[in-house]
């Protein structure tokens, strides 16, 4: 039953006037009473007096009445309004269900647009906007030794880290930091092996100063953090577990705290479990999953050179700039006080946030811009769709306006419809974005910082809602603007097919399609340039051959003796190379594109400039390593097992080091001074290997014999035609025979290391390319739509022309010509836009000119081909128009 229908009709007719209503009602009462009394024989005067007396205080009642009626009118109006909205909503659902394909397409297109935007927003939010997951993260600063001259920032660890002594001096003398802490950044996949609990497990561990977690403001989930008694030599061996490790390897057993676990040869007490939210790798070592933390044995590291990365918490009110200013004075002073120190620790201080993701800012902004452009294309596409639909419904609107619906009422109906569509799109979009972001957050193949922190949070939801709201308004108003210019009578009379209105609509559609093509062109060219850069990066001469090579970490015990190591390694390698399918094998302590360290090397000899010191990256290797990695020998010889502990120390240089130390000469056979104290002979020169990244030209590198120097770990590289899964088992069997506590690590293809190194670039490229692809799809649909519309509108004209002798070919040509013309105008604008955009992404390009003719030409051709196809379907339809049918419809 509808509420107060008659009243409503009354109220609508005269407008609500509570005062008059009340006065009328009271007057009626008095009049009726007077009538009755008069009928009974009263004098009219007396009757009125009697009636008023019986009524009581007329004025007071009226006043109360007016007040009450006003309240009533207000609540009534509110109820009416809500009922109106409810009606609109139900009506919208009905209409949209009737137009099912339109609704589904709109929701899907909008959903994809929103999904892209929400995903990119979440990525940007996690990496640039949201504070780092530490307490008061804006106070945290990163100290890098050395003036950062390379804007891209190399990851040459030895040149950005500090010695223990330098750390202690800075800690003691600085005034800027409330707390200064450090960790050892020379990390690898697995530094520790957990034994005594079934199969030996590889564990990635980080050595941290005992105040590390306190400085970051991380509280343990269980147990406690390291205490002072766990630092230094003779400290109680202690270990902290990450939450994930605790769950994975110790079944989240709270009883593990206080008990000992065996890591390598040492038994350590588990003192606590870190919170789930703490992800060391995400912030400090993208792509690495860290399992355990141990206190850094500072005393043992004291003689190991630069081993510490410094993180500090600024005192309240101290800015990065002030800290830098202090460092500029303090560090030279410290250096002056310690003439014996090898290096100058002049530091570059940046906020921890900048250190972690500052380099990504540009890429992320480009992503954001790209996805924004995609959203614009989506918007234009949907405007096209809703306008076409509005055209089809124009007689419905005209009818409703003619029947008395206000324009606002019709517009409101449209807005409610578009709101329903937008909410649908937002739901689809959030769903997709949620799936994408949660899979991204669990990626280890992409070495982007803070990746694991990506999630759809309140800010991302707010962003989505904002986009959906904008979409609702745009989609609702676009056809609404159409109505206001619609001439009612004309529309009603000729059902919307009138020449003038339709022509205008076609022009509007064409304009929208042109803008769509233009924006798509910009996106495609940007994607093309990034793709080309990516190809160029992949084409880079790595200096080694990743294909058919695989690596596995090896654990062995040399007891600290060169002799024992030499025989052990030789034993391992001879067993491994005798396995079927292994062509060659070798061991290095660190692999390219991973961790690294660098040592000093100076040329000895009259020809060389004395004191010309370089600090090449060091790799301590066995014979066979160069061959297994596929590193080309450019001169001299590879190591042999005869380069043992008792023979003369030897070194192999890369070409960059050779050029630096002996420009224009053959260095083989010459002598060099290693770390300022060891005379070494150069026995060979090899190709430069890309060390930090594929994109930076390699600097000086050198290889030392594992039988003569202390290696830092052991990576077994094998070259084999067999797949890793097949060979992995037999290698593990051999390693376990030689060392039962060999951890169960995987055999990783070297290609995987290369893929990880290019993963950030691949990530950005793939996203931009997918946005561009989606844009292309929408743009081609747009061209198709507008041409189809034009053809259907000109059926009669085409029929007439064919009746007058035009051939099917001529008709087709003219239709396709139209499509090409639209595309050409769009591409024209697009190329201009793309030239500007290319300038903007220039710093992201690698060996690619921002005006690369191949990319520009290719994209123009691609868009032309797409327009051709989009035009071909309506064209062939047009050419099948039968002249007689077309003419009869006149």
């Amino acid at each position: 039953m509808t509420r107060t229908p008659i009243w409503r009709r009354y109220a609508r007719l005269f407008g609500a006037d509570p005062a008059a209503d009340v006065a009328d009602e009271v007057r009626f009462h008095l009049d009726a009473h007077v009538d009755e009394l008069v009928k009974r024989g009263w004098e009219p005067e007396a009757a009125r007096r009697e009636a008023e007396q019986r009524f009581g205080n007329v004025g007071a009642v009226q006043q109360t009445g007016v007040r009450m009626r006003q309240v009533h009118a207000r609540t009534q109006a509110q109820t009416d309004r809500w009922e109106g909205y409810l009606q609109d909503l139900l009506f919208a659902f009905r209409t949209l269900r009737r137009d099912r394909s339109f609704s589904i397409i709109t929701i899907l297109v909008l959903g994809l647009g929103i999904a892209g935007n929400t995903t990119v927003f979440s990525v940007v939010n996690a990496m640039l906007l949201r504070p780092l997951p530490f307490a008061d993260p804006e106070e945290l600063a990163w100290l890098a030794s050395g003036r950062r001259t390379n804007p891209k920032g190399t990851s040459d660890l030895s040149n950005s880290t500090y010695t223990v002594a330098a750390y202690e001096e800075i800690q003691r003398r600085n005034q800027s930091f409330r707390s200064l802490t450090t960790y050892n950044p020379f990390l690898s996949e697995s530094d520790f092996t957990l034994t005594g609990r079934g199969e030996p497990q590889p564990m990635a561990g980080v050595m941290v100063a005992v105040n590390f977690f306190q400085t970051l403001g991380v509280r343990p989930a269980r147990g406690r953090l390291f205490g002072a008694e766990e630092s230094g030599t003779g400290g109680r061996p202690a270990v902290l577990l990450t939450h994930d490790t605790w769950r994975r390897l110790f079944a989240a057993d709270p009883g593990i705290i206080g008990t000992g676990i065996t890591l390598g040869s040492q038994t350590m007490t588990v003192v606590g479990v870190l919170p789930k939210t703490f992800d060391f790798g995400a912030v400090f070592a993208p792509g690495l999953r860290i399992d355990v933390f141990v206190p850094a044995p500072l005393d043992q590291l004291r003689d190991s050179g630069n081993t510490l990365a410094l993180v500090g918490r600024l005192k309240p009110g101290v800015s990065i700039k002030q800290a830098q200013a202090e460092a500029d004075i303090l560090l030279p002073a410290i250096h002056a006080a310690h003439q014996d120190w090898w290096g100058d620790y002049t530091s570059t201080i940046s906020s921890l946030r900048d250190h972690v993701s500052g380099k990504l800012r540009q890429s992320l902004l480009v992503l954001w811009a790209a996805v924004g452009l995609m959203l614009l294309i989506v918007g234009v596409n949907l405007s096209n769709l809703v306008m076409a639909r509005a055209a089809a419904r124009s007689s419905e609107f005209a009818m409703r306006i003619a029947l008395g619906a206000g324009r606002w009422r019709v517009l409101r109906q449209l807005l409610v419809e578009s709101l329903v569509l937008s909410v649908g799109g937002a739901v689809v979009g959030i769903g997709i974005a949620y799936a994408v972001t949660s899979s991204l957050a669990h990626q280890t193949a992409i070495t982007l910082p803070l990746l694991s922190q990506i999630r759809i949070d309140g800010a991302a939801l707010a962003w989505t809602l904002l986009l959906a709201a904008i979409a609702a308004v745009v989609l609702g108003l676009a056809p609404g603007l159409g109505i206001s210019t619609t001439e009612l009578q004309a529309t009603l009379k000729n059902t919307g097919a009138g020449p003038s209105g339709a022509g205008k609509r076609e022009r509007t559609l064409a304009t929208l399609v042109v803008s769509q093509v233009a924006m798509t062109c910009v996106l495609l060219i940007a994607a093309g340039l990034l793709l080309r850069s990516f190809q160029k990066v992949l084409d880079v001469d790595l200096g080694f051959e990743p294909s058919r090579a695989a690596v596995m970490r090896v654990e062995y015990n040399d007891g600290g003796s060169h002799e024992r190591r030499a025989t052990t390694l030789q034993d391992i390698l001879s067993r491994i190379t005798s396995l079927p399918g292994i062509e060659t094998a070798g061991i290095a302590d660190m692999l390219p594109l991973g961790r690294n360290r660098s040592w000093g090397l100076g040329a000895i000899g009259t020809e060389a400039k004395q004191g010309d010191n370089v600090t090449p990256i060091v790799r301590v290797v066995t014979p066979g390593y160069l061959g297994a990695m596929g590193i080309r020998l450019a001169g001299g010889r590879d190591f042999s097992w005869r380069d043992g502990p008792s023979n003369e120390p030897v070194v192999v240089l890369n070409q960059a080091a050779a050029r630096r130390l002996w420009p224009g000469q053959d260095p083989v056979g010459r002598l060099a001074l290693l770390n300022g104290n060891l005379k070494t002979t150069i026995i060979g020169v090899v190709a430069d290997v890309r060390d930090h990244s594929l994109e930076l030209a390699p600097g000086p590198e050198m290889y030392l014999s594992a039988a003569q120097t202390y290696p830092d770990g052991a990576e077994l590289v094998v070259r084999t035609a067999l797949p890793a899964a097949v060979i992995s088992k037999s290698i593990m069997t051999v390693l376990r025979e030689l060392n039962p506590s060999q951890p169960a690590v995987a055999l990783r293809p070297i290609q995987q290391i290369v893929d990880q190194a290019v993963s950030p670039r691949r990530f950005v490229m793939a996203l931009v390319a997918s946005f561009a692809g989606f844009g292309l799809l929408l743009a081609s649909l747009g061209v198709y739509g507008v041409i189809s519309y034009a053809v259907s509108r000109r059926t009669r004209e085409i029929g007439l022309r064919m009746a007058l002798g035009a051939t099917a070919g001529q008709v087709q040509l003219s239709v396709i010509g139209n499509a090409l013309r639209l595309a050409a105008i769009g591409v024209g604008f697009g190329v201009v836009g793309a030239l500007a955009a290319a300038k903007g992404i220039e710093s992201l390009l690698f060996a690619t000119n921002p005006t690369d003719p191949v990319v520009f030409g290719g994209i123009v051709l691609l868009l032309g081909a797409v327009a051709l196809m989009a035009g071909y379907l309506p064209a062939s339809r047009a050419s099948r128009v039968h002249p007689v049918t077309a003419l009869r419809s006149y």
Partner: protein, 119 residues
Amino acid sequence: MQPTQLDLVRGTLDVLILKALVWGPLHGYAITRLIRLRTDEVLLVEEGTLYPALWRLENKELVEAEWGLSENNRRAKYYRLTAEGQRHLRQETKVWTAYSAAVGKMLSATHSPVAESAK
């Protein structure tokens, strides 16, 4: 006011109005007349107080109103019970019956209950 005319217990007027509308829509004056007749003029209402009560009932959506024409062709506002109003009336009637029965029992008692229990 004469001794035989009872003051209206507060809230009773609402029930009386609802009851008056049971037989069909009425305007305000007709409601007063009806109450006067049905209560044998015992319950006398100062007629003006009827209206705020009516409007209150309308705000609570227990009655609804519409303008119509009276017997002698005057524009009058007619009130009608809503479904909610009918339900309310049924419930209030029950309460009122129980209440008046209780009061009646007490007032018609002939001897002291205390004396009775003391026996």
